[in-house]
């Protein structure tokens, strides 16, 4: 712990006195520590626990609030026994190291897949006679169009809005067709459902990874109590219908940060991660995600964003039209995100054309003219931006957070990769969970000819955006960022199957199954994940 001693030490003594924002944030952590301690000791009131706090140090600490905070933070870190060391948290600020596993059959498959989508992209471009580079200034005007005008003029034409290069069905088919040449076909009786075998975390491993979801700790979650449950809760008439049930508090157990975009001390930013694991209060999510993903760099990103757009506005490329088609299609279908069409399109164009990102991704064979970043637009890319549009009204910040989230998490969901958080491993985790915990259900579905992965894959491909309500998606992504893992996605998919297993058990056809699992609008994410992890009788819950 010597490392974090120095880091918290520097946080406290970096500049003479701490800025008010830092003090406030330290206070937040203190209260969280106290609550966690209180929860384990069975004490519920913050005031009594606070009084017991100064006893941990010498009498000098009573007069020194900073030292008291430091004690509390160290106590908290010890208490939660964070496996993710601070180095790992700092990894947000450095580029991510995604794993050292490189399987050559995967590589071959990946190259074949890249060739396929390149081919398709080429076909689209040539069929519609789209010029590869089109200067966006017309010959008679010398001025560049402004950002809004550029985005406005990006229309799907000459494409139809339903045109796309690939979607989750294509990727699923590729994944299922993968075969590890080293494995004998009969060595392990496979579910015909799955691709190559990997070692995946078991439920107990997930439980220790996601320990902060424990029901004994207060969580941020938004649940609505149905009419029937009211009688169980013995609510009196005239009570507001959004009263919170006991373990789910709506931001009440966390004192609120003022809603500003102040920059905090960079080391404090690394402490934002454990704070997020039990969910962010809605009002603070913007600041917390920004701190967790971008460090707490000063706020001059707006300038860099303008420079980026200056580059982009010079030239129009065919991928712009594909992005517009995807954005138009998705926002037409979705009644939560249609308002943000312009914002989404702007951020996506910036992502695809950002020259700084081209080093991250293996370029496709088509070259930087057609696919500037190596990111090929696919059906559903805009749904990753959409929930963020609720949180960040200003596009520079939105773009910055989105780029970090995309680079670290979302791009693993739509490429063939064998990284620990990649879609291949996630699918395998899901199937393993189903097989170990819900074998009867799995057999039943197999008998109906239904591959549960076919239902869960679209959910995981999109990180549930577009399937759940925006608020629930944000709560889910809180956990993704807080725990720094995408394994909440297969966990939630598995929890959904467990939750609806009774309805699935009486299904008679494939269409029935699809119908049961079709509508996720009424789902509350956090209680389901807790149920999957901590319920004693998950397999026999029927």
């Amino acid at each position: 712990m010597a490392d974090d001693d120095s880091s918290t030490g520097s946080a406290v003594s970096s500049d003479g006195g701490c800025r008010p924002m830092d003090v406030m944030f330290l206070r937040l952590l203190v209260e969280k520590a106290v609550l966690a301690k209180g929860a384990s000791a069975g004490i519920n009131s913050i005031s009594t626990s606070k009084r017991s706090l100064p006893s941990t140090g010498a009498a000098k600490h009573d007069t020194d609030p900073m030292a008291m905070c430091r004690e509390a933070i160290q106590e908290y870190l010890r208490h939660t026994a964070m496996k993710h060391s601070l180095q790992q948290q700092k990894a947000w600020i450095q580029p991510p190291v995604l794993g050292d596993v490189e399987l050559d059959f995967f590589q071959a498959a990946r190259q074949a897949w890249h060739r396929k989508i390149d081919c398709r992209l080429n076909l689209i471009i040539t069929e519609h006679h789209m010029p590869l580079t089109l200067p966006s200034t017309s010959p008679n005007s010398a001025t560049l169009p402004s950002r809004e005008v550029f985005v406005d003029r990006t229309r799907p034409e000459p494409l139809k809005t339903s045109m796309f290069v690939y979607d989750h069905q294509d990727l699923l088919r590729e994944y299922l067709a993968l075969r590890n040449p080293n494995m004998r076909e009969d060595a392990y009786a496979p579910l015909e459902f799955a691709g190559p075998r990997f070692a995946t975390p078991s439920l107990s491993a997930l439980r220790s990874l996601l320990h902060d979801l424990n029901p004994s700790l207060p969580q941020e979650a938004k649940i609505r109590i149905s009419r029937r449950c009211w009688t169980q809760y013995n609510a009196s008439p005239n009570q507001p219908s959004q009263a919170t049930a006991a373990p789910f508090v709506g931001g009440k157990h966390k004192p609120s940060l003022p809603n500003t975009n102040h920059c905090l001390c960079p080391t404090l930013a690394t402490h934002a991660m454990p704070y997020i694991t039990s969910g962010c209060p809605v009002a603070q999510r913007a600041t917390l995600w920004y701190m967790a993903t971008c460090g707490a760099d000063p706020n001059d990103y707006a300038l860099k964003y303008d420079e980026l757009w200056h580059e982009i506005r010079q030239v129009r490329r065919p991928v712009d039209h594909l992005l517009a088609a995807d954005a138009k299609y998705q926002t037409n279908l979705d009644d939560n995100y249609f308002v943000f069409y312009d914002v989404i399109l702007e951020v996506m164009i910036a992502l695809i054309r950002d020259p700084a990102l081209s080093s991250e991704y293996g370029c496709t064979s088509l070259g930087a003219d057609v696919v500037p970043n190596g990111i090929v637009p696919f059906r559903g890319l805009c749904l990753f931006v959409a929930p963020l549009a609720f949180i960040y009204p200003r596009t520079p910040q939105l773009y910055r957070v989105f780029v970090k989230l995309y680079t670290r998490y979302f791009r693993l969901l739509h490429t063939l990769n064998e990284y620990p958080n990649g879609i291949a491993r996630l699918s395998q985790t899901f199937l393993d969970l189903m097989q170990v915990r819900l074998p009867h259900l799995l057999l039943h579905l197999k008998g109906l000819g239904v591959n549960p992965l076919e239902i869960a894959f679209p959910w995981m491909f999109q990180a549930f955006s577009g399937y759940l309500l925006p608020e629930q998606v944000l709560l889910l992504w809180d956990r993704i960022i807080g725990f720094d893992t995408l394994h909440v996605l297969p966990l939630l998919s598995f929890a959904l199957f467990a939750f609806r297993q009774r309805a699935l058990a009486v299904a008679r056809t494939k269409r029935d199954v699809e119908f049961v699992m079709a509508d996720l609008r009424s789902i509350a994410v956090v209680p389901l994940m807790q149920y999957a992890l901590f319920a004693r009788d998950i397999a026999t819950a029927a």
Binding site: P237, N238, F338, P393
Partner: protein, 403 residues
């Protein structure tokens, strides 16, 4: 009459109504027969309550409009009633009528400054000349669905309108235009909230949690050159439907929960809570302003559609109240929502699917209210009840004081 199936009839063939009635197993009759529940148009209600009709409603009949609902739902009468309510409170010296330094009411600033034309024309001109660069919006008092509305920036535009003799036959209201609305995704929107009132004296009002925001299809443009384009400025669905960008899968409608999420994420929890509290306050005060003039027929209940616009400072403004909020559904989510609203209305008004009985109005339980919440129930308001008790013991009147 007390036993047997509930008999219903309706003037409007709307799915939300018919499916709800049929689901309850009620019996459909025509309006000439003995009915128990009648979902009528406003014209029918005027006819029923007109003196020469001679039709007395019995104790098991309920109707979905108050006889003089237009006191609240016509734009000019609503403004008149609110102004009168404010003046009365001012005369009483009530703290509600407190005014700020600029002379504006602090707590009762419910509607933007409004004048009736042609009666208040001279006062309006005075106000216009005092603030020459503001925009005003002209609305015909009795029309709906955004018909006949236009924006005024110069007095000459009004002079042109007054020359048009056909327009002058109808009365208009002109109010200050909110040119800085709260924008989401760059688009202007307004809110539609459903409020059920079962009685005015004592005031019993319930507000539904299922409201929605109606978005314009085009980005908002505050410049004066955009004032001819009604697609930017008017949010009525019946108008926006004709825009090229309209889409009938989402219909430009957002659930109120999404609005709450957006405001809370971008402006903070206190701001979001205050906004929703202010909206409740505006609705409640508008109901209180007509409380004394409404004919409180106990056979009546009414579902009002409140249109509210939020400006950039997160202040809600009451735009108008609709007596017959549209029950047709434009999208799937819309259909479900309107069905649920009507379902909960009848769960409150006819609890447990019993025969409606106007003699015993009960207090609806939490479960019966469903998605509605109590906005204000004067019988449960402790302060009001205590006051009435005090007055009753003082004057020793044994008859009911709720008149």
């Amino acid at each position: 009459m007390s036993g047997g199936r509930v008999r219903w009839c309706t003037d409007l063939e709307k799915n939300a109504l018919v499916s709800n009635f049929e689901r309850r197993g009620w019996q459909r009759v025509s309006s000439d027969d003995q009915w128990n529940v009648y979902w009528a148009t406003v014209g029918t209600v005027h006819r029923l309550f007109s003196p020469d009709h001679g039709y007395r409603l019995n104790d098991n009949q309920i109707l979905n409009h108050f006889p003089n609902h237009y006191e609240l739902t016509r734009k000019d009468l609503m403004v008149k009633n609110i102004k009168r309510y404010r003046r009365d409170l001012d005369k009483e010296g009530s703290p509600l009528a407190a005014k700020g330094r600029d002379g504006r009411y602090l707590h009762l600033d419910l509607v933007p400054d409004t004048f009736m034309l042609p009666s208040d024309y001279s006062i309006f001109v005075q106000e216009f000349r005092r603030h020459p660069h503001t925009t005003w919006i002209m609305k015909p008092s009795g029309a709906a669905q955004g018909r006949g509305i236009f924006l005024v920036t110069k007095l000459s535009q009004l002079k042109r309108w007054s020359k048009d003799s056909k327009a002058q036959a109808r009365s208009y209201v002109i109010s200050r235009y909110l040119d800085r609305p709260y924008l989401i995704g760059g688009k202007k929107f307004d809110l539609r909230l459903y409020v059920l009132v079962t009685s005015f004296r004592p005031l019993k009002a319930y507000m539904s949690r299922l409201g929605f925001c109606r978005f314009c299809t085009v980005k908002y443009d505050a410049s004066t050159s955009s004032y001819d384009d009604m697609f930017i400025h008017l949010t009525n669905v019946s108008l926006q439907k004709h825009s090229g960008e309209y889409n009938d899968i989402h219909g430009g409608k957002w659930h109120v929960d999404n609005l709450r999420l957006h405001v809370e994420s971008t402006r903070g929890k206190e701001a979001a809570d205050k906004l929703f509290d202010d909206m409740n306050w505006v609705i409640l005060q508008s109901l209180k302003s007509v409380q004394s003039v409404m004919i409180n027929d106990r056979h009546c209940f009414e579902v009002y559609g409140y249109d509210i616009i939020i400006d950039d400072d997160l202040k809600p403004w009451l735009i108008e109240v609709n007596a017959s909020p549209s029950l047709s559904a434009t999208t799937v989510a819309d259909r479900i929502m309107k069905h649920t609203v009507i379902d909960d209305v009848f769960s409150i008004v006819c609890p447990d699917n019993r025969m409606p009985d106007v003699r015993n109005p009960g207090v609806p339980t939490r479960e019966q209210m469903g998605t509605f919440e109590v906005l204000y129930d004067e019988t449960q308001d402790v302060a009001v009840v205590a006051e009435k008790e005090k007055r009753r013991t003082l004057t020793r009147r044994s008859s009911s004081t709720w008149k």
